[in-house]
Amino acid sequence: MEPEGRAPRVTRRTFASCAAAAAAGWILTACGPRRLYEVPRERLKKGLADLERRYSAQYGTPVTVADTPPMPGVEFAYALDISRCIGCRRCVYGCVEENNQSRNPQVHWIRVLAMDKEKGVDFTHADPYYEAKEVPEEGHFYLPVQCQQCRNAPCTKVCPTGATWTERDGIVVIDYDWCIGCRYCMAACPYGARHFNWGAPTIPTGALNTSTHYLGNRPRPAGVVEKCTFCIQRSRAGRYPACVEVCPVGARKFGNLLDPDSEIRYVIEHKRVLVLKQDLNTMPKFFYFYGT
């Protein structure tokens, strides 16, 4: 209890100053640059044209930056056949070329883990650096890991600038212009699927994929986080992601979860399916299955 006769803790003057300061702060912050989905259409168009001009000049070849929106009635999902994968790493390098990842310092969005058949899916004994003359190696199976496009994504919750979010077609995207490189999302991701550009990405001349998407494979600056987007520039145009097409054993399946006739629904309805680290309740849209 306050002793009687003392002035209240917060005086009228303090309260008024605080309220005024809060209002001023709010107004000042709101005046800043705006997000991808908030900017007026003309400004966004101009921004994309500016990006295209900048990239074209930088790489000496015409580059397009699309902002294709999600298709209505589509939710993407992915399935990978563990019993088929032979660990040849074709997907890793197919992804690098399609998505303009830095060659040096090296950034790989897909990491193929070699695992012991005896131990099963066990991350403590997984080896991403396996060297072999030929794969599959005796007694091993392979588990490629990339962004699991979680429905309950921990990475988007920790981002202090709102630079990463889930789109309506289920793709978790990053706006590289809003990423401040704090790497909270990398700490939050239980799959190690996010990667940081420690240096300015280097892409050999002529190797740039010039068909890019604003939220996907456009060239990234140094100091931002990037990850798999289900090849947003391809999948939103109706095409299969690059890793699906490059897989020599056809272990990778992709499609619309909301379409009952899709390959992905067939897998979920007919095969033994698992998700990684189910106990974390991240609810991935990247499924692993046994095709045999």
Partner: protein, 196 residues
């Protein structure tokens, strides 16, 4: 006085921090908001997954993978007598090391004796090399169903439109069906410490 300054500073910082931490654009974007962007205007939205229509209509299969100059088989076999005996090949087809359940099978179980440009099913029905999956599916029915659903084997093209399949024989040599091992691409560079 001290406390007042602190409160004032907090008041200045809080709304700004609040704006940064709370990201209304992530949750409250109205369903149509994305469609109002220029992309929706500039590029026609791609086809919504086809509601119906037999899968075959949208599927393209490349021609069967014959060895060079081997087809048509009737080029040689039309004039040769039919020899169904199990034997070692010496002058022709010496490259075939038959390991596909060889104990129970020999050439004419799949290849048609009357016309070598065709295959035949167990029922005797002739099938072309383009439809060889029907022959494979006699034993590997489960795989055939998965393949038709697009789950076994590689598919390329559009996930919601025109797809390209491969025949069984494109990946599995019918005479030695086990998938051949491949040389893996280089391992990722292990992380290094700066200056190390």
């Amino acid at each position: 006085m001290m406390r007042r300054a602190t409160v004032l500073a907090l008041a200045l910082v809080t709304p700004a921090a609040g704006l940064l931490v709370y990201t209304p654009w992530a949750e409250t974007r109205s369903p149509g908001a994305g469609d109002a962007r220029p992309g929706a205007q500039a590029t026609a939205p791609p086809k919504v997954p086809p509601a119906a229509g037999p899968a075959q209509e949208r599927v393209e299969v490349p021609p069967p993978p014959f060895s060079d100059g081997i087809f048509p088989c009737s080029g040689c076999h039309a004039d040769l007598p039919v020899n169904p005996t199990r034997r070692e090949f010496t002058d022709m087809h010496a490259d075939i090391a038959f390991t596909h359940d060889a104990q129970h099978r020999w050439c004419l179980d799949c290849h048609d004796a009357a016309d070598r440009d065709w295959l035949h099913l167990a029922s005797g029905e002739r099938v072309s090399f383009e439809e060889s999956y029907r022959l494979c599916g006699q034993c590997h029915g489960e795989k055939l169903r998965d393949w038709q659903a697009g789950v076994h084997g590689r598919r390329t093209g559009d996930w919601n439109g025109h797809k390209r399949y491969l025949l069984c024989a494109h990946c599995h040599n019918p005479h030695q069906p086990r998938f051949r091992p491949l040389e893996p691409k280089p391992a990722p560079a292990p992380p290094t410490r700066p200056g190390a």
